[in-house]
């Protein structure tokens, strides 16, 4: 536990170094170098995280740095790989998007890099202080990214809404941490589970109130009901690569932190913070949030005419499914959430890559402008269709196996609450299939509009992104063996972490 062993946080050091270097390069106006530093930073950090994972694969235990404030285990490694992958895709996509924007290339990549640093750091936090700091680092970067198109009223409005509501959420989070600190006397997340029974009546209720407020803060981050009101507007207002990064990066970061907190206070282990009389209530709370998020996301999306707004609602729906995984409160449940996010990575980024390309040609996100894409550019239509079907959870794609694992974990829990949640999830799948197929219908069954552009040019990096996402979706859907093992390793590490 003791000792600095700074070497452990190698990926974070690399990223921080590149951020500084990029800042310096941007100050001198050499935009090209900012791009190089960004790419180098993310690649090196991901490689380092991967290496660390390989090296320490055997030892089940968790390694600590910064005197126990920074932990490294399979769970952290897996999520660092996920975040590394996400930001690589985002850098490629933003490269394509920035080519259409004249100013601010450097700032965009800097913000993205800093957000990635925040995500990397969030994976390894052990205490609430670093939780708060990493969370805020990510969020503030996204405030700026959301409002990046300064001269577009909608983007600025999105930014403002995000700032104010984000601030509100951070305030609640901070108050929650304060109460937890008051109840347990230390900022360690681990402390939650240790002291529960000897706190006496006042302390216990303080603890529960604190946990509730922390969950409110994190629920805002992953856009769970009732804190999801901001998502559709910000998704629609922000630029496409930012929305992609939001829907994947920030949501996954929210889930990482939520998983750590839930493991500590509700987790499967005997040492869970909230003992049985309270556990049932919290279980009901999580189930309620999962079901309502699921239904709200899917029902809201049924009427959307704008594709990005539709994806906003659908991301709420997917948060609901991941929450179902957390509801299961078992190793299988957490593994399902990890796998679900892996599959979600390739799916949602693939869809957004297509949106960026199509938007570049048609300058609009209305679903009607996608009609007849099947004839005009078949490859884009294919990737979009496969992406939407994977979002809907149709085999043989990754999305299906993610949902399958989630259902498996929930049904494994047993009990009336679990089965009814499973059936609500089933209804959600059907509703989601409806509005995804409405979009697919546009692509293939409608003729292209009179002024629709001919085949849309796909530059090399974007083609690589599209092929990787396509391959990722199929591989995660069919050859799921190794990835399931990875997810289970991460879940085992999370549950075992002391």
């Amino acid at each position: 536990m003791s000792g600095w062993n700074l070497g452990l946080a190698l990926p974070e050091w690399i990223l921080a170094g590149c951020v500084l270097a990029a800042l310096a390069a941007d100050a001198q106006g050499r935009g090209e170098w900012v791009r190089r530093f960004a790419w180098f930073g993310v690649l090196a950090a991901t490689a380092a995280a991967g290496l660390q994972g390989l090296l320490r694969l055997d030892t089940g235990t968790k390694l600590h740095a910064f005197h126990g404030r920074y932990g490294l285990d399979a769970f952290a490694v897996v999520f660092k790989l996920i975040f590394g992958g996400t930001s690589l895709f985002i850098l490629a996509m933003s490269g394509q998007w920035l080519s259409r924007v004249d100013r601010g290339h450097g700032e965009f990549r800097l913000l993205a890099l800093m957000a990635t640093l925040g995500m990397f750091f969030a994976c390894s936090i052990e205490d609430f202080a670093s939780l708060f700091v990493s969370l805020e680092l990510i969020t503030v970067c996204f405030y700026c990214l959301a409002a990046f198109k300064r001269n577009d009223a909608r983007s600025v409005e999105a930014g403002i809404k995000y700032v104010i509501l984000g601030g509100l959420a951070s305030a609640f989070l901070l108050l929650g941490i304060a109460f937890l600190y008051g109840a347990t006397g230390s900022l360690e997340i681990r402390a939650l589970s240790a002291h529960a029974d000897d706190l006496g009546h006042a302390g216990a209720s303080l603890l529960q109130f604190g946990v509730l407020l922390v969950i409110v803060g994190l629920a805002f981050k992953i856009a769970a009901v009732p804190f999801q009101v901001w998502t559709p507007d910000v998704y629609e207002g922000a630029a496409s690569p930012v929305t992609a990064f939001l829907s994947m990066g920030s949501k996954a970061a929210g889930f990482v932190l939520l998983l750590k907190v839930v493991r500590a206070c509700l987790g499967p282990g005997a040492d869970a913070g909230l003992r049985d009389p309270d556990a049932v209530r919290w279980l009901g709370l999580v189930a309620l949030m999962a079901a309502t998020t699921l239904l709200y996301g899917n029902l809201g999306a049924m009427w959307q005419g704008n594709l990005k707004r539709l994806l906003g609602y659908s991301s709420i729906g997917h948060a609901g499914y991941a929450l179902m995984g957390i509801f299961a409160l078992s190793e299988a449940g957490f593994a399902a959430v990890v796998y679900y996010l892996m599959a979600y990575l390739f799916t949602v980024l693939g869809v957004f890559a297509v949106i960026i390309l199509v938007n570049g040609a048609t300058k609009s996100h209305a679903i009607d402008d996608y009609s007849g894409l099947g004839r005009r550019s078949p490859f884009l239509a294919l990737v979009l269709t496969v992406g939407l079907l994977s979002l809907a959870g149709v085999p043989p794609l990754g999305g299906f196996f993610g949902k399958f694992l989630i259902f498996r974990a929930v049904v494994d829990k047993g009990g009336v609450l679990a089965y009814s949640l499973a059936f609500v999830g089933a209804a959600g799948v059907v509703i989601s299939l409806y509005y995804y197929l409405c979009v697919v219908k546009r692509l293939y069954m409608h003729e292209p509009g009179p002024d629709a552009p001919a085949t849309i040019a796909v530059p090399a990096p974007m083609k690589a992104v599209l092929w990787t996402c396509l391959a990722g979706m199929f591989v995660l859907g069919i050859f799921m063996g190794p990835f399931v093992a990875l997810a289970e390793e991460a879940a085992r590490a999370l549950v075992a972490s002391r």
């Binding site: 509100l168 209720s205 009101v229 507007d233 049932v280 009901g284 709370l285 029902l299 809201g300 049924m302």
Partner: protein, 630 residues
């Protein structure tokens, strides 16, 4: 050896039909029809071999069609059973069939798709042989359906004549409705006796294992089986399809709707007679009584309708109905061997009459209305004399075949003290004489009223006529006196008791027949047919009733059009509104409503979002406090 021969007889016509359908080359060549005729001649030959072989050729060989335990270790089987009854029926099918096939060669010569016709004709013979040779109820049901289907194909042979297609469909559906009852009967019998095989069922019934309740059920089962027979043998409620079946070519009407197919029902009841008299004693339960009275009604009814028909084939069709009524009466009275004897004789002379009608129609270039013929005896002498022989046989004049078999039926009815039926039978004999002689006078006497120039039919058509005429003379005598064709004793277990023509009954029936001739002579030999018009004018109500065939057709049409279609329309309406709109519409509607409501939540105003956020926190707090407060 005989087993193989029996299987060969059965399979040969099927082989001909399959070969003709598969090889269009053969079908279009002149050789095609000969293949079909060859297969029927083979059947005639083997039937003769079986007949000559006597007891030694009785054989039963079975082939397991599907091996599911349906009782007593037997699966669902197809088999061949050759015993006295099936040998006799084979003779009828073989010989009458051959004659009609040869006739058809001539009759259908001009037809472009003659190959297709003979393929279907051979298919029919195969299905008929299947019924004759079947060993168990399921097999007889299988071929029952095949006969119905081949009659559909043959009646509807002239595809571009809408009336022919309609008649074919009517025949098929009426038979299918009757088969509904037949299958129910079979299943009930299987339920009672535990097996489908005839021999085993007879053993079970004979062994008297059936208690009181079962006997009642057996009576119901036998009634349902008789319903199947009514469908095929066109008894009262199911008779509407036979007259319309005349739309088919004449050889079809001759073979199917006179000689063999309609006789299948009678043959089947004879084959399973043990179901109809379970207790053997006087008390037969109500089934045989019902059978007898159905036969009686059909006989009388059909005879009256035949009086007013203008189409020569329609007259013969109703005459067939009437004669079938006779046979069914004999069945009801328990005289199975006599019914079989009448069936045989009827096959020959009714086949003859139909072929004569065919030859007349062929001669008058497809003119079928008797009132447009007349005076054909000079132009078509052979047809005239053979028609006369057939008529005499049908009406039952002494040396001819009809006399012996019909009078034996009258004796059987008398022996069973069924006075009412005997009276009806005698009246029918009179009416038969009336309408047959009417047809005779109208067609062959007086001047030719049509505008074609009739000519005698070629040799290939007249030869079968002569053969059948000879047979319809010889067969009656030979059968009665057990000379060549021992009817009474031959059928063994089917013979109730050996009967001899009772002189007094014979005299009465012959008198009635001669009376019929006299009336017809009086009305229909006038050159201007004015007297016929006068008779019709005097009884307009009766004429209309008879002309509309007692309104059976209209009743069925109403039944189908309003009742059945009505229900179908109600179901469709139910489908579209309740199921599509209700079962599916409601949940979809509810989901879209909720979706619309939740969309309103995004009002777009900042403060409202903050309200939702804070409201959410309070809701969660309340939930925690409310659910199981500490």
């Amino acid at each position: 050896m005989t087993g193989f021969l029996a299987w060969l007889t059965l399979i040969a016509p099927l082989g001909a039909a399959v070969v003709l359908t598969i090889l269009p080359g053969l079908r279009r060549s002149s050789l095609g029809p000969l293949v079909a005729v060859g297969s029927v001649l083979l059947c005639a030959a083997t039937s003769l071999i079986f007949w000559m072989g006597g007891k030694s050729t009785d054989v039963e060989s079975t082939w397991t069609w599907m091996d599911f335990a349906t009782g007593a270790g037997r699966g669902i089987e197809l088999g061949v059973l050759v015993d006295p009854l099936s040998k006799m029926m084979l003779l009828v099918v073989g010989w009458v069939g051959s004659a009609i096939f040869l006739f058809a060669l001539g009759y259908m010569k001009g037809d472009p798709s003659i190959g297709r016709f003979f393929a279907k004709f051979a298919l029919f013979v195969f299905s008929m042989l299947g019924i004759v040779l079947s060993t168990n109820f399921l097999m007889i049901f299988v071929f029952w359906e095949l006969v119905g289907a081949s009659s559909y194909l043959l009646i509807g042979y002239y595809v571009d004549k809408p009336s022919a297609v309609e008649a074919g469909k009517k025949a098929f559906l009426t038979n299918r409705v009757a088969d509904f009852g037949f299958l129910l009967g079979i299943l009930m019998i299987w339920n009672l006796t535990g097996s489908f095989h005839f021999g085993e069922i007879e053993a079970a019934v004979r062994a008297g294992k059936l208690s009181g309740a079962d006997a009642g059920q057996l009576a119901l089962a036998s009634f349902l089986i008789f319903v199947g027979a009514m469908g095929k043998s066109a008894q009262i409620p199911f008779h509407v399809w036979l007259p319309d079946a005349m739309e088919g070519p004449t050889p079809v009407s001759a073979l199917m709707h006179a000689a063999t197919m309609v006789a299948a029902g009678v043959y089947m009841v004879i084959r399973v007679f043990f179901c109809f008299e379970p207790l053997g004693g006087a008390d037969w339960g109500w089934a045989p009584g019902f059978v007898a009275w159905t036969g009686g009604f059909t006989a009388i009814l059909a005879a009256t309708i035949a009086l007013v028909q203008r189409d020569i084939k329609k007259v013969l069709a109703y005459s067939t109905l009437s004669q079938l009524g006779y046979m069914v009466m004999a069945l009801g009275a328990g005289a199975y061997s006599i019914a079989m004897f009448h069936l045989t004789t009827h096959a020959f002379f009714k086949g003859l009459l139909f072929l004569c009608a065919g030859s007349v129609i062929h001669g008058c270039h497809h003119e079928q209305d008797m009132f447009a013929m007349g005076g054909l005896r000079k132009k078509m002498p052979v047809t005239f004399w053979t028609f006369t022989a057939g008529m005499l046989a049908l009406t039952g004049i002494c040396p001819f075949a009809g006399f012996w078999s019909k009078d034996l039926i009258l004796d059987a009815l008398h022996a069973k003290h069924l006075a009412g039926l005997q009276l009806a039978a005698t009246a029918t004999a009179g009416l038969t004489a009336l309408y047959m002689s009417r047809a005779w006078f109208l067609t062959f006497f007086g001047e030719y009223r049509g505008h074609a120039h009739p000519h005698e039919s070629p040799k290939v058509m007249t030869l079968p006529l002569v053969f059948l005429a000879a047979m319809s003379v010889v067969i009656g005598v030979a059968g009665y006196f057990d000379w060549l064709f021992p009817v009474q004793g031959y059928l063994g277990k089917w013979t109730m008791q050996v009967l001899h023509v009772n002189a007094s009954i014979a005299i009465v029936s012959t008198g009635v027949v001669l009376l019929g001739y006299g009336i017809a002579w009086a009305i229909y030999t006038r050159p201007t047919l004015d007297r016929a018009e006068a008779v019709r004018a005097r009884f307009p109500a009766v004429y209309d009733l008879l002309w509309n065939k007692y309104y059976f057709d209209d009743f069925y049409l109403w039944l189908v059009r309003s009742v059945q279609q009505g229900i179908a329309r109600v179901c469709r309406a139910f489908e579209e509104n309740v199921i599509v709109k209700g079962l599916v519409g409601v949940p979809v509607g509810f989901t879209t409503w909720v979706a619309d409501r939740s969309r309103r939540l995004q009002a777009g105003r900042l403060n409202f979002y903050a309200y939702v956020f804070v409201g959410g926190v309070t809701v969660l707090l309340l939930f925690l406090l409310a659910v199981g407060a500490r």
